[in-house]
């Protein structure tokens, strides 16, 4: 049980007054950001990242991950009380959460949402605690070809498993890779794609792009909808909390099923949204009383929330162990790690033990403290939603600008952020997904380096990606995922041809 000892070390790193205070600040900011429609996990983390630039990496990551937990909790308040999903994966929560609020059971719905978020994250954190070190240990054997194969696998799974049009996913990803390549080439030191501009020599900063793509574009989209917020009031009393908790054992199967789905899909890139819907649909399918779903059934809140949060948390596993983020927010946290000069990936577990285990310990503590905080402060945060959007919109714009500027102290970056804001707005409306772009932007130069180093090692022979069983398996799997829709169709066709014969 080496993991447990290291986890204790992590708690020791964490348990100072300064870190605990930062946790509380992070959670408060996070809930705040999560509650506001038009912001949410990735945007909030991206905008608040500059606050952490002057901190040491451990305090910074603890605060950031607490912002993330807070945002996850806060999103549930908006979905249940106001029927506005703060994030795509909160959509399934509104199906039964909002009807419950309409029936005057808002407190039960909120307690159920927070509790199931907590359970989902906890299962995923346990998974991270025991699995991440193993994976990292295994990945220490990886050379450039293996790493490139893993990056390829990530990219291909986005294209093959994504629900959007394939060409749109490819465009989004290719644009991300291209933008990541602008500026100084890391291998040869040569400048490329700068067109003689001094501003572009620095390259396109990942965080500037994210603030524009998510923050600014969300403001534009929210303005377009002209939301008039009308929500239900809620105050959670201890007796309601206890009553909901007492009913928990009855739903153990739903909770367990959703946790497993969440963990599994979270490790696969881009799975959190799918996880919440799958959790909801499976709970409905296995229920004896299918009709009551969508009309305010508490199980309909438990199922998607547990799955969404398990997957949101599990998405941090590949980020820590392999340096590959499983979600947009994980990608932004990864961008943060690089700002502090840490190189995410298997070596992190060896070289920065305190940092990694401090982060994992903060996931446990942040979750517990977050649960208590959010249960006791719901009325206050629900009141935040009654602040007119005309006051909130310009404040978010200013926060975005501050965030974009602070990263490299460059005025040009604020312009760039605005450009990305418009790009994000248009892309969302013509359904070009933004997650592949984000992922490619953060992984682009690492993927290219891995590719070129493997090519140098193999003297330009592409067969290096099938040179041993490990890299060969990963590369083949990548192609299987890339062509998955066709393969699945072929299987279905084959089954139809075989089936009539066996049926007789």
């Amino acid at each position: 049980m080496e993991s447990l000892g290291l986890l204790l070390l992590g708690f020791k790193v964490l348990l100072t007054w300064k870190t605990l205070a930062l946790m509380m600040v992070g959670l408060t900011l996070g809930i705040f950001v999560g509650v506001l429609p038009g912001l949410g996990g990735p945007n909030g983390v991206a905008i608040l990242l500059p606050l952490t630039f002057t901190m040491d990496p451990t305090s910074a990551i603890v605060m950031l991950s607490c912002i993330y937990w807070g945002a996850l909790f806060g999103g549930a308040i908006t979905s249940i009380l106001f029927n506005i999903p703060g994030e795509a994966w909160s959509v399934a929560t509104t199906f039964d959460g909002y009807p419950m609020a309409q029936q005057g059971k808002a407190a039960e719905a909120l307690t159920a949402a927070f509790t199931s978020s907590f359970i989902g994250s906890l299962v995923a954190v346990l998974l991270i605690t025991f699995l991440a070190p193993r994976i990292a240990d295994f990945a220490l054997k990886f050379g450039p070809p293996e790493f490139f194969a893993v990056y390829l696998l990530t990219f291909c799974s986005f294209v093959g498993l994504g629900k959007e049009d394939k060409h749109k996913t490819i465009i989004s990803m290719a644009l991300g890779l291209l933008l990541a390549g602008i500026g100084m080439d890391t291998v040869s030191g040569q400048l490329r794609m700068t067109f003689g501009s001094a501003e572009l020599m620095r390259g396109v900063n990942f965080l500037v792009a994210v603030i524009g793509l998510f923050g600014i574009s969300e403001i534009l989209l929210t303005m377009e909808e002209s939301l008039s917020l009308r929500g239900h009031a809620a105050k959670i009393s201890l007796s309601v909390v206890l009553r909901v908790w007492k009913s928990l054992p009855k739903y153990w199967a739903t909770l367990l099923r959703s946790s497993v789905i969440g963990c599994w899909l979270g490790i696969t890139p881009g799975g959190a949204i799918a996880a919440s819907f799958m959790g909801y649909n499976l709970a409905k399918r296995f229920s004896k009383d299918k009709e009551s779903f969508g009309k305010g059934r508490i199980e309909g809140v438990f199922a998607p929330e547990t799955a969404a949060h398990a997957s949101g948390t599990a998405a941090l596993l590949p980020m820590l162990a392999l340096g590959i983020p499983g979600s947009g927010t994980a990608a932004i946290l990864l961008g943060g790690l690089m700002v502090w000069g840490l190189n995410p990936g298997p070596l992190l577990f060896v070289e920065h033990k305190e940092f990694v285990w401090g982060l994992i310990a903060s996931m446990y503590l942040g979750n517990i403290v977050g649960l208590v905080m959010v249960l006791s402060t719901v009325p206050f945060f629900a009141a935040v939603l009654r602040v007119p959007f005309a006051a909130i919109a310009p404040m978010i714009v200013v926060s975005c600008a501050i965030g974009a500027f602070a990263i490299q102290n460059a005025m040009f970056d604020i312009w760039l952020m605005l450009g990305f804001g418009v790009l994000g707005y248009v892309f969302k409306k013509i359904s070009i997904p933004l997650a592949p772009l984000t992922l490619a932007l953060v992984l682009g130069s690492r993927a290219e380096d891995a590719f070129r180093l493997s090519m140098i090692g193999a003297e330009g022979d592409l067969r290096v990606f099938w040179s041993n069983s490990l890299v060969g398996t990963i590369t083949t799997l990548a192609f299987v995922l890339l062509f998955w829709p066709w393969i699945a169709r072929a299987f279905a066709l084959a089954a139809r041809i075989v089936a009539p014969r066996t049926a007789r």
Binding site: F53, H167, I170, L178, F195, E224, P388, I456, G460
Partner: protein, 174 residues
């Protein structure tokens, strides 16, 4: 037999400012042009192989090629085999609201350059609240002032993050 439904919308109704398909075609064309530009630039940098492996332009060149291919596919599909017919991209009233927030933001950037980010933030928030939100002037100015002050105390004083500053901050000795 029911009465025929009038085809034209009533007077003064919201009209689309742009069609979804039009915007999609324009976007794909821009992406195609952008990829072509980058292909050309990377070809100039060198897309071949040298003794130390692929040249700097190799990787981005082929990524741009893939991007161009995907946008050509999208363009052909949208132009000749459109999957959906005539959905609006944005309605006029929606576009008006979007511009209400976008144009002030656009003005905010040069003002930041001259007056510093805190003064510009005050102007943006107060102005937006008064003219777009129709909120009482004193409430708007007070909110904007408090927000700018909190930002200043957080970034400048507590966290030492340097922001663009203008004449007002210089006068106050920062």
């Amino acid at each position: 037999m029911s009465a025929p439904v009038p085809e034209t919308p009533p007077q003064g109704a919201d009209r689309p400012a742009a069609q979804l398909r039009t915007v999609e075609v324009i976007t794909l064309a821009v992406v195609l042009a952008f990829s072509a530009l980058l292909m050309w630039d990377n070809w100039r940098t060198g897309i071949g192989w040298e003794s130390t492996g692929p040249m700097p332009g190799y990787f981005p060149f082929y990524v741009a090629l893939i991007c161009a291919g995907a946008s050509v596919y999208g363009l052909v599909r949208e132009l000749f085999f459109p999957p959906d017919a005539g959905e609006p991209f944005v309605m006029r009233s929606q576009l008006k609201r979007v511009l209400q927030v976008f144009l002030p933001t656009l003005a905010f950037v040069p003002i930041t350059q001259v007056l510093g980010i805190y003064v510009a933030a005050f102007l943006l928030i107060a102005g937006f609240m008064i003219w777009v939100g129709h909120i009482k002037a004193w409430k708007s100015m007070l909110t904007a002032y408090l927000f700018a002050l909190v930002m200043f105390l957080t970034f400048e004083v507590a966290f030492d993050v340097i922001m663009p500053k203008g004449p007002l901050e210089r006068m106050l000795g920062y």
